[in-house]
């Protein structure tokens, strides 16, 4: 009996681990006739997922659609296996949302505001007050919690928004531009909080941001959107583990002949500008081979650096190509 129960629990746990955090199933959203999101497909499983893209790429619309604010024109999405169209209420009871824009309830002290939000999530009044205090201390607003929200600075309002997003202890937290308008110390504090929540393993986080550095510091998976489509999906954690390095060469001379020759050597390459080539050395190939080929092609190598693909490179590549996928 006990063994059967343990087996059941293990199966349930396995199913939970296997369930993707977010599953996009041909999701399209239109505002009037204008398509905003087009046929998004894929599964996201990371503890912290970054949504990147230029202005108007559809990051915020994707979050709003997952929250059930916009109905999909076609397709659907699932959060922890629950459908965003048919199970909106169930989804909303396990998520927290920190909006991008200034959002608060006027003429209220911060602790009162966070308590109200906890109560609306279904927490009984007394427990809500207790958790409101805890959440405000956690985000660093403990000393200012009785102050009216109207008197808060921009950075404090951001922290108050974070507190209301986590007060009910959600399984998934959507953070829309969490470091907007923060000064460097406040930004660092916000990043630290996000990483702490991520590392606690109690909640998954989705961060939408313009700031590549923020996403790079917090996220394991990246979804880059461009014109409402998925431009690139990247598992940063795996990239880091693979530790793939490449060379950046600054050259003068016939670049085409040079790249043709290094391709014959079995190396991957990418021309990033007229005088710049990225080269991934294959096993067996050495730097002296590059110099040899350069000399044969009458090409000068003026600079040679080892580099790792940064998020900026991935992002820029996605913006150039824009046809990646999961």
């Amino acid at each position: 009996m006990v063994a059967a129960l343990q087996e059941d629990q293990q199966i349930a746990l396995q199913a939970l681990v296997q369930t993707p955090v977010i599953e996009l199933d041909g999701l399209s959203v239109r505002f009037g006739r204008r398509p905003i999101l087009q046929d998004l497909r894929g599964q996201l499983r990371g503890r912290a997922i970054g949504l990147l893209g230029p202005n108007g790429a559809g990051k915020t619309t994707l979050i709003h659609t997952l929250l059930g604010f916009h109905p999909p024109a076609s397709g659907t999405a699932r959060i922890f296996g629950q459908d965003v169209i048919n199970e909106t209420k169930e989804i909303r009871s396990i998520i927290g949302y920190m909006p991008e824009r200034d959002a608060y309830i006027a003429k209220m002290s911060c602790v009162h505001f966070v308590r109200l939000m906890a109560e609306l999530s279904g927490i009984p009044s007394e427990a809500a007050l207790e958790r409101a205090h805890e959440a405000l201390f956690y985000v660093g607003l403990g000393e200012a919690r009785y102050r009216n929200l109207d008197t808060y600075s921009l950075g404090m309002k951001q922290l108050a928004k974070l507190a209301q997003a986590i007060v009910h202890g959600p399984r998934l937290i959507f953070l829309d531009e969490p470091t907007n308008g923060l000064d460097p110390p406040a930004r660092l504090r916000m990043i630290k909080l996000i990483r702490e929540i991520r590392d606690s393993g109690q909640a998954n986080i989705v961060i939408s941001s313009h700031l590549l550095r923020d996403v790079e510091e917090c996220c394991e998976e990246i979804l880059i959107l461009k014109d409402g489509r998925i431009a690139t999906y990247c598992n940063l954690e795996e990239e880091r583990k693979a530790n793939r390095k490449f060379l950046v060469l600054e050259t003068r001379g016939d670049q085409a002949a040079f790249t043709k020759a290094i391709a014959e050597l079995g190396c991957e390459y990418a021309i990033t500008s007229d005088h710049r080539v990225k080269v991934v050395l294959q096993e067996g190939a050495e730097i002296r081979d590059l110099y040899r080929i350069a000399a044969a092609q009458n090409l000068q190598i003026r600079r040679l650096n080892f580099k790792r693909d940064s998020l900026e490179d991935i992002f820029l590549k996605a913006m150039e190509n824009g046809n990646g996928g999961l």
Partner: protein, 299 residues
């Protein structure tokens, strides 16, 4: 996530039932509303007519008091349908003033501060939000309209006896329905204006204008066309007509003095007034369902 521990922790305790969550909004709203001493004083003043009418009913049944006063209150002021209709009318006026003070900022404040996504990203629907905001006004107005009205009715029944109670039960129905129709209309109008006008003062002014301007226009129409159908556009006239219908004091024809002299004009039928009231309520609900959204979509 205890204060001293400082780490993230999920909530695993019991949850409140879904149906009761809309009541969170009025509970928190009243804390803010009754913080104003001026409003609290005014709200208490709304119960003065209740006190006066209760005294009148008491005097009506106290032979000693009547002998001391040497006034025949029974003849001067009979306790009948008109007595309760007057009370409903007076309290209706107070209800309008309370709505003017309480109603306009409710939704407007949330819209101005982008608070709607914060409400609606939780297991809390748009309907629950609207119902919660409406209940702030509805509960407040109920305490000064039909609840004291029914208290007066029960007081009179207690003093007069069961036969009076049984024979006049329809009066209780009229008090309840007449008051409810009016406070529901006021609530919906105030919340709709609040959802359309984000600035509190402008919303209050718009509500006042909606009450006064159609009344003026209705009288102009009545005078110009020698009719009483102008009443159909006046919210106050609609209320009076509906209440009179419920209390059985509605007069289908009335004497009217116009530019062309005196003549008898027909009032719009009661069903017409009910129909217009329902129409206004339906329009208000339609506007609210369009305006109360987490985010406005620009197509």
């Amino acid at each position: 996530m205890a204060v001293y521990e400082h780490h993230y922790r999920r909530y695993a305790g019991p949850l409140t039932p879904d149906w009761s969550r809309f009541l969170i909004i009025p509970r928190h709203a009243y804390r803010d509303i009754f913080r104003s001493k001026l409003f609290t004083a005014f709200f208490v003043a709304c119960f003065v007519p209740l006190l006066i009418e209760a005294i009148l009913i008491y005097l009506h049944h106290n032979v000693n008091a009547l002998a001391i006063l040497k006034v025949n209150v029974r003849e001067l002021l009979p306790i009948d349908a008109s007595f309760f209709e007057a009370f409903v009318g007076i309290q209706g006026g107070f209800a309008f003033l309370v709505t003017l003070l309480v109603g306009p900022p409710l939704v407007a404040r949330d819209l101005r501060n982008n608070a709607l996504p914060l409400y609606l990203c939780r297991p809390f629907s748009r309907a629950e939000y609207v119902f919660g905001k409406m209940s702030v006004v509805l509960i407040l107005l109920s305490t000064i309209t039909w609840i004291p009205g029914l208290v007066l009715f029960l007081f009179q029944s207690y003093l007069e006896g069961f036969s009076w109670f049984a024979g006049n039960l329809w009066l209780a129905n009229a008090i309840f329905l007449g008051s409810l129709a009016w406070i529901l209309l006021l609530t919906l109008l105030s919340q709709t204006i609040s959802a359309l006008v984000k600035w509190r003062m402008a919303a209050s002014a718009a509500l006042l204008a909606l009450y006064l301007i159609p009344s003026v226009f209705s009288e102009v129409i009545n005078q110009m066309f020698s009719t009483r159908w102008g009443h159909i556009i006046s919210v106050d006239s609609l209320r009076r007509s509906v209440t009179a219908g419920l209390f059985g004091t509605f007069e289908a024809a009335s004497r009217q003095v116009s530019f062309s002299g005196e003549r008898i004009s027909n009032e719009p039928p009661i069903w017409c007034s009910w129909f217009v009231l329902f129409l206004i309520c339906a329009i208000c609900l339609a506007i609210l369902s369009r305006r109360v959204k987490a985010y406005e979509v620009v197509s």
